[in-house]
């Protein structure tokens, strides 16, 4: 679409405050059953979002309304969309805020993205996995995108970023020698380009887990137990803390975080240190500016368990009175006081596969059905499955311990192992 035409029509409609996001996606996708190609797909699409603003009651309130403009929209359709949005904006009264200011110049951060080369890497690495007769890959889906996002607003911001974004979904099978019992495990990995090392290591580990799940017994009814998380399930835990520092969550009174105060009262374990960062190696979310044109920079959000900085979009950041703010895409949680090996001492249940592990960002409730775990009873290790882990992060984090070692998962670098001393484990024996 011709953005200049859109800007002209906005001007002709008398609109002085607006935002436009022009997102172009080129994508290649490959779907495999075993290692045979099931289907291939390509896409080339453009999505344009327009948001218009109006001042209400002499600037006491800011009205807004948003909509999409298809690239095939005629000039007449665009005029109608602008007119409809302008009329609707007066119905939506939010406290006043301003858009991010710009310098009136176009800024670009363009990274070369080769769909062919990245796809080639994914296809080839999937054939190098350590599959055996009893542990192998059932199916996988490869998604490779070149994303081009241009954001511009009426205050002079005009930022374009081009970046790679990839996703790999893998289903793994394991079966016994008699082939009368088969299980499956699921993995979804996101990254900028193809992260061959991570694929090899995570899928390799999953193949081993598959072997163990075949012989898993029932999870014992442990009631309160020490539980260890050692893979990307732990991201839900850290994202609960990240959400508490989100200006929108704070403004809506869902977050109870107060600057200078501990997020978890009476914490006896490790205190969390969480920072927003602009770049992480091969993250699919390495941006210089956020979705509203605000500069992204590295800063601490939680230091030693104490809230230090909120972050968020322009609207809610201004409502909280933050002088400088942006959305967060990549984050780092520093390692804790003990090694991963030390965290695996004594009695504990290490859960490596859940059906869907969740930490509710609003309530702090923790829940997940156990699909594979290792129960260390102090003397031996029992491979277990079934039952669930539950609790509430606000209570559980009082006895939370983080490993010194950290692991990178796309846009998050976090402790490799985290241990809680007091979660509820509902077993089935």
């Amino acid at each position: 679409m011709n953005i200049e035409l859109l800007k002209r029509l906005l001007g002709e409609a008398g609109l002085t405050a607006w935002e436009v996001t022009d997102l172009r996606k080129r994508g290649w996708e490959f779907y495999f059953i075993r290692h045979k190609l099931d289907q291939n797909r390509a896409k080339e699409v453009e999505d344009i979002t327009l948001k218009v603003y109006c001042s209400i009651e002499d600037g006491k309130y800011l009205g807004s309304a948003s909509g999409t403009i298809p690239p095939t929209a005629s000039e007449e359709e665009i005029r109608k969309t602008i007119s409809d949005l302008a009329g609707r904006a007066y119905l939506v009264k939010n406290p006043y805020y301003t858009l991010n200011p710009g310098d009136g110049k176009a800024h670009q951060n363009l990274r070369m993205v080769s769909l062919e080369a990245i796809s080639d890497s994914f296809i080839r690495v999937m054939r190098t996995l350590p599959e055996t007769k009893t542990e192998d890959v059932n199916s996988y889906e490869i998604f490779v995108h070149e994303m081009s996002r241009r954001y511009l607003n009426s205050e002079g911001v005009d930022q374009t970023v081009v970046y790679p974004s990839s996703m790999l979904e893998v289903v793994i099978n394991a079966r016994n020698e008699a082939k009368d019992h088969e299980i499956e495990l699921y993995r979804m990995l996101t990254s900028g380009t193809c992260d061959e090392g991570r694929i090899t290591s995570e899928i390799g580990r999953a193949l081993q887990y598959g072997k163990d799940k075949l012989v898993a017994g029932n999870t014992p009814a442990l009631e309160q137990a020490s539980v260890v998380f050692s893979n990307d399930n732990s991201l839900s835990i850290y994202e609960y803390f990240l959400a508490q520092m989100d200006a929108a969550m704070k403004y809506q009174q869902i977050s109870r975080a107060e600057i200078g105060q501990a997020l978890i009262a009476d914490a006896q374990g490790d205190r969390i240190n969480l920072a927003a960062v602009r770049q992480l190696p091969n993250s699919s979310r390495n941006f210089d500016v956020d979705m509203e044109g605000a500069e992204i920079w590295d800063r601490v959000l939680i230091r030693g368990g104490v809230a230090e900085n909120f972050y968020g979009n322009r609207q809610f950041s201004q409502y909280l009175g933050l002088e400088k703010s942006s959305q967060v895409f990549n984050y780092v949680v520093l390692g804790g006081s003990r090694s991963a090996q030390e965290l695996r001492q004594g009695k504990f249940l290490e859960v490596v596969e859940f059906s869907d592990f969740q930490v509710d960002e609003m309530t702090g409730d923790i829940a997940g059905e156990i699909r594979l775990g290792y129960w260390h009873d102090g003397e031996s290790v029992k491979i277990v499955s079934g039952g669930s882990v539950s609790g509430n992060i606000r209570e559980a984090a009082r006895q939370m311990y983080l490993s010194k070692e950290t692991t990178l998962y796309d846009g998050a670098q976090v402790p490799s192992v985290v241990r809680f001393e007091n979660l509820t484990v509902t077993g089935i024996e």
Binding site: K25, G27, Y31, F32, I33, R34, H35, K36, D38, Q39, N40, R41, A42, E44, V45, D47, A65, S66, G67, T68, P70, P71, T72, T81, D84, A89, L91, V92, K93, N94, E116, D120, I123, R124, N138, S139, E169, V171, E182, E184, M188, A221, E223, Q252, I254, Q315, S355, D356, Q358, T363, A367, E369, R371, G386, G387, S388, S390, T424, T426, I428
Partner: protein
Amino acid sequence: MKAKFSPYLTRLAQFFRELSRELSKTYNYVSILSTDSVGLNIRISGRSKSVSSETMTTERGNVVRVHQNGLYSEYAFNDLDLEEALFPTAERRLDYVRQMADIIRNEVNRQMELLKRTETTVYTTPTLKDEPRVLLVEKEAKILPEEANVAEYVERLTELSERGRNSMEGVLDCSMSAQCTHICKMFITPNQYLRQSYVYAEGTAVLIAANEETTKFSYEGVSGLGGMEIFDGLEEKLEVSIRHMKDLLSSGRIEPGEYDIITAPNVTGLIAHEAFGHGVEMDMFVKNRALGQEYIGKRVGSDLVTMHEGALCAESVTGFAFDDEGTPAGDVIEIDHGILKTGICDALSALRLGVEPTGNGKRQNYEHKVYTRMTNTVFDSGNDSLDDMIASISHGYLLEGMESGMEDPKHWGIQCIISKGYEIRDGKLTGKVVSPVVMTGYVPDLLGSVSMASADREIEGNGGCGKGYKEWVKVADGGPYLKARARLG
């Protein structure tokens, strides 16, 4: 009134028919799905308000599917030179048809070169049939989202939000939402010309409240096939949401264990969806990912368990006339009195399995691939009353309010996170509430334990359903109150 089909798509029909014929010179199957779905999305809370024309299913774009040498390939795009595509002179229009066909062929060929270079072999699939069919379906809706008086709905939701915020102590906010989408889809092959237009709506009343110990949210929704008139039911749902919040704020945690349970229709629907909804999606059969394929004709539940699946089962948010592959909507009996009869199937999986497609081939939108997906997944009703069901339990819980669930088609495990449980002791509700409740178990054990079913039933269609952790589509599910036995934590 009839929801009129998109004039934009109608104007382009000739161009896409010509494009399908042009591509047929290269490929032995060609189909084109074009969409033009518009919507309205209003969200009002005490802290934030928004109005947008975007919903989960608004879109305008096209996807071309071609078949050659046993392989299906697709190309999705949403830009066209309309002046050329609609040019009245056939010769000039056909020039543009050939130009577009070349773009599609080139992109497919570039991928083929990579596949050749990587020595990739193909999972060969037969060619879809292309029998002549013409269809236009325009379903009823009173108020279309594109014609709604937005001011009226903003005012109404603002009043309800305020009422919710003032309803009790401890309320942090009350968020009211109303989303309505007018779906228009056109499916074209050299021999087929199918068009459909329908409208669905979904609204929610969400209360957030806190006391010193906890923060809770209470959620109720309305949904259905139809226009903005469906939001008339939101006021009643807000009252239910307020009542539930009072229960939630006084709730404790459940003692983990196995209990007799009664599932409210929204929890019954969650079980239907996670237990044998995902479990009999037959694209999973193709990959040998579902245990269900080994259990066709075998018992998987008690005699009281009969389950239907299909867009024709109910007038809900997924009430289409044909799916995203042009297959007519269906109504499949998956489980008949406890016996697993069949699954649901998209067109390509049907070809591979040698069965008929059931009208369950769905895309998240035109950019995404087709998978076998659910539509309405519903347990049949029984003859019991809820009072009798409660009276039959010595110690257990009435489970109400679904939060989330996760499928496990390979092992038939089930995880349902449920908003709350009302304790039952000696045949009576005690007034004690537990929250949240994690229900887990083995699907045949859970369905095999169903011992009572109420005579009424409800179907809900708020939110979306993913396949794994992606591919979000609209579905609806439900059923009656069921009595069963399950592990709760």
